[in-house]
């Protein structure tokens, strides 16, 4: 074989770079970025009343299940909402977004989502024939690996057959937020925007300025430079919720953190409620969850703003809520 000279190397390297640029150019021409990569809104969730369903079952807006193991709570809640097959189709690319805010807490401290609940949802999706089920979050203190390890989520999710994804820096893309009132553009994780099904599994926690960390606040794990949200926190949380729209939000209130959140660290601040609140309407889930802390939806500005923006309902009297206590 002939010697591979520096000239050859430069030639091939140049050809490689050229090919990449050409491919980039072609993809850019064939699919306008804003149209394909950045749709203004994701595909709508299957409506609560399915027109082609002869029995015309009306699914509840919210399912609240109490008293049971995490897996049983998750299964019952999803069943009440119409079953996992209403949300996950065969071969779907599913992303589950738990809350692993502080990387150093085990699940008992209620600062991170319950690992068995996350695993149960992953298992449900796989049972429905999902092609890929990935669990991802970006903790705000510490590395993602340590967060997945300490919270116990890696172990349980892998047991259930799901994948853990360490969010890669190169996958954040500057994304338009057409409905945003304060922020019109932000760096958001592309895969989360592109997923067929996004399931948001926040944990209910106290929070200094958001007051509560619930479903909408949890979406901040999908963006870069999240601390800049605080310059106008409530509006920006709502703006983000207008762009990142989970198919389903399953709120973990198995243990809730009532003080010193969102980081926690003191078991005296943890209250065990063994409750799961699920629904397609993220604003409705958050609104109901305020009651866990003895608050009303209007006490949390971002819930109020999101409802005003038409992102969901905060009127608990008008919502169809199914409440079930297991084993009773």
């Amino acid at each position: 074989m002939a010697e591979f000279t520096r000239r050859d190397f430069l030639k091939y390297a140049l050809a490689g770079v050229g090919a990449v640029l050409a491919a980039r150019f072609i993809t850019a021409c064939s699919s306008p970025q804003t149209a394909q990569n950045n749709p203004p809104m994701p595909a709508p969730v299957t409506p609560a009343t399915e027109e082609n369903d002869t029995s015309a079952v009306k699914y509840p807006d919210l399912a609240v299940v109490r008293g049971g193991e995490p897996e049983a709570l998750a299964r019952k809640a999803v069943e009440l909402l119409g079953g996992i097959r209403r949300f996950v189709k065969k071969g779907d690319n599913v992303i589950i977004k738990p809350n692993i805010g502080p990387a150093m807490r085990t699940y008992e401290y209620a600062a991170t989502t319950n690992p068995w609940l996350v695993a149960a949802v992953a298992r449900l999706c796989l049972e429905a024939g999902a092609g890929r089920v990935r669990v991802m979050d970006q903790p705000f203190s510490g590395t993602a690996e340590s967060g997945f390890l300490n919270s116990g989520i890696r172990e349980e999710v892998e047991k259930a057959g799901g994948e853990i994804e360490l969010m890669s820096r190169f996958k954040y893309a500057s994304t338009d937020i057409p409905l945003g009132r304060d922020i019109k553009k932000w760096n958001i994780y592309e895969d989360i925007l592109k997923a067929d099904v996004l399931i948001n599994i926040p944990i209910a926690k106290q929070h200094g300025s958001a007051l509560l960390t619930l479903g909408m606040k949890n979406l901040m794990g999908a963006v870069q430079a999240a601390q800049l949200f605080h310059l106008n926190l409530h509006q920006r949380i709502a703006d983000l919720a207008s762009r990142v729209r989970p198919t389903l939000t399953i709120l973990d209130a198995i243990r809730i953190l009532t003080a010193n959140g969102p980081t926690g660290g003191d078991l005296r601040d943890v209250k065990k409620l063994d409750t799961v609140i699920a629904g397609c309407d993220i604003v409705a889930v958050d609104s109901y969850a305020t009651s866990l802390f003895g608050l009303r939806p209007d006490d949390i500005p971002h819930i109020k703003i999101a409802a005003e923006m038409g992102l969901g309902s905060n009127d608990l009297y008008k919502l169809n809520i199914r409440e079930v206590t297991l084993g009773s």
Binding site: V20, R24, M104, S146, E165, S168, G208, G265
Partner: protein, 502 residues
């Protein structure tokens, strides 16, 4: 390592050379593996680091017997470390610029004494409890440069390539798999930043470029660890021998990478310079030189540290150690020099060997090599710079990685309650205090179980004339451990509105 007939089919000189090349490559891979996993073995292999730390810190560092074993090995094999194991030596051999040196330059023999002067200065400064000169140790140079320049630089390059390739749809899935599988093993998971990394890259590049003057210029003239092993080599058991049948053909002189074989000295070599690379045996047409046991000490050369070099080294060490101390860090210490958990200011001068293992071990890139801002005595010792990275609450990697216990190996529980500094809020910059803008990021981030930032709600005027509730943060000093997460996350651009001081 007895000489064998080259023509014999079995184990011959060429086999020894191949073995050396293989061991060099393996040792370099070993260096990278130790580096990536932050295993502090490398510095413990370094007898100079252990000796200097022992003298300076007045106590034996852990696992000192490893360095003792290395010294004993040197008493048998001389400077074989330099030719067989040293990652710096291997790097200098791989990037030797042998083909770029068209005419043979002979550098003055006297230059070889510089390394002995540095060695003696290191030891004498250590007597004054100063280890600043350990910055010249080749292993500290390697670890420091890899930690602050090469590793994060490689990460930037990989990330740039990934970002580019990610635009092509067919590459996206394999890229993601590559990134998730290999990044945790080989690259930092968060973007690390070392503003002074370029300095270390320039230093290493300069050392490599010195090869343009003469092969292994660093090893010949400057390396203090080489000097240490060289002194052991003078009395080592196995040394190069030349017998009477040598025809002075000069072939070995031309191949010797340290230039110690000289025809004008009967083709003999100085065991203090010889790195046991065995190339001379391979080049010798008559098999007149070999490596075997010798029992009388080697004779001294003009450049050996006999009198002038000894006094020069002693003088330089003493003067430097004392000059550096004029700053008296205890009287006026840099308030922003936050030290890794549990490390005292005194330990930083007297125990830290400036190896940079803690810099590599820190998962957030918080630990930075201090520059001159803490005085020359503290040059390149670890400081935490919260605006660049924070001390992770549940992490004690720096202490468990420090090879010489300059940073104590604290348990996680001890580390969580170790105070490394205190946060102070700058009310002239803080958004709620200075601009009536709601912000509680510092309170939100504070990782201690009973938060060290308290929020006081006040009613205040809004821009439009109405009133609003505003939360004002204050620091509860008794609870703050100085981890710097608040300073790191503070959304005020430029200088943080909350700052940790030591």
């Amino acid at each position: 390592m007895a000489a064998e007939n080259k023509s014999s089919a079995g184990w011959n000189t060429r086999s020894w050379l191949n073995l050396r090349t293989a061991i060099q490559a393996l040792a370099f891979i070993g260096f990278l593996a130790l580096f990536l996993n932050a295993v502090p073995l490398l510095m413990r292999l370094d007898p100079l680091a252990v000796l200097a730390n022992f003298i300076s810190g007045r106590s034996l560092p852990p696992f000192a017997f490893i360095a003792l074993a290395m010294t004993l090995l040197a008493l048998i094999f001389g400077r074989a470390w330099c030719g067989w194991l040293c990652p710096m030596g291997t790097l200098l051999e791989w990037i030797s610029f042998n083909k770029c040196r068209t005419k043979k330059i002979t550098i003055p023999d006297g230059w070889r004494s510089v390394k002995y002067v540095i060695l003696i200065a290191i030891i004498l400064a250590a007597v004054f409890s100063n280890l600043t000169l350990m910055i010249f140790d080749p292993l500290t140079i390697m670890v420091r440069t890899f930690a602050t320049a090469i590793w994060p630089g490689l990460d930037l390059a990989v990330n740039a390539a990934e970002s580019l390739l990610n635009n092509v749809p067919v590459f996206q899935a394999p890229l993601a798999r590559f990134d998730n599988a290999l990044r945790p093993l080989l690259l930092p998971t968060t973007q690390l930043s070392y503003p002074e990394g370029w300095i270390f890259a320039v230093v290493l590049a300069a050392i490599i470029l010195m090869n343009l003057v003469a092969e292994r210029f660093w090893c010949r003239c400057l390396c203090p660890l080489g000097a240490f092993y060289g002194l052991a080599g003078k009395i080592s058991l196995i040394r190069r021998r030349v017998n009477e049948s040598c025809i002075k053909c000069k072939l070995c002189e031309d191949t010797c990478p340290t230039g110690t074989i000289r025809r004008d000295k009967d083709c003999s070599s100085d065991p203090g310079e010889c790195i046991v690379c065995l190339k001379c045996m391979d080049s010798c047409p008559c098999s007149t030189s070999d490596f075997g046991p010798m029992f009388s000490p080697a004779k001294f050369n003009s450049y050996d540290p006999v009198r002038r070099q000894l006094f020069l080294g002693l003088g330089a060490g003493a003067v430097l150690a004392l000059l550096f101390r004029l700053g008296l860090p205890s009287k006026q210490r840099n308030p922003y020099a936050i030290r890794p958990p549990g490390a005292g200011e005194q330990d930083m001068t007297a125990k830290c060997i400036r190896c940079g293992e803690c810099i590599k071990a820190c998962p957030t890139g918080a630990i930075q090599p201090s520059q001159m801002d803490s005085g020359p005595e503290q040059l390149w010792t670890p400081v935490i710079v919260p605006r660049i990275g924070f001390c992770q609450y549940s992490c004690n990697a720096c202490g468990s990685t420090c090879p010489v216990s300059a940073i104590p190996a604290l348990s996680l529980a001890e580390k969580k309650s170790t105070i490394i500094g205190r946060a102070f809020i700058d009310r002239d910059r803080c958004l709620p205090w200075a601009q009536n803008t709601p912000c509680i990021v510092c309170e939100e981030m504070c990782p201690v179980p009973r938060k060290a930032i308290l929020l006081h709600t006040v009613r205040t005027k809004r821009e439009d004339g109405g009133t609003m509730l505003l939360q004002l943060p204050t620091v509860q000093a008794g609870r703050c451990i100085g981890c710097g997460l608040c300073e790191y996350k503070c959304p005020v651009e430029g200088e943080s509105a909350i700052r940790v001081t030591a």
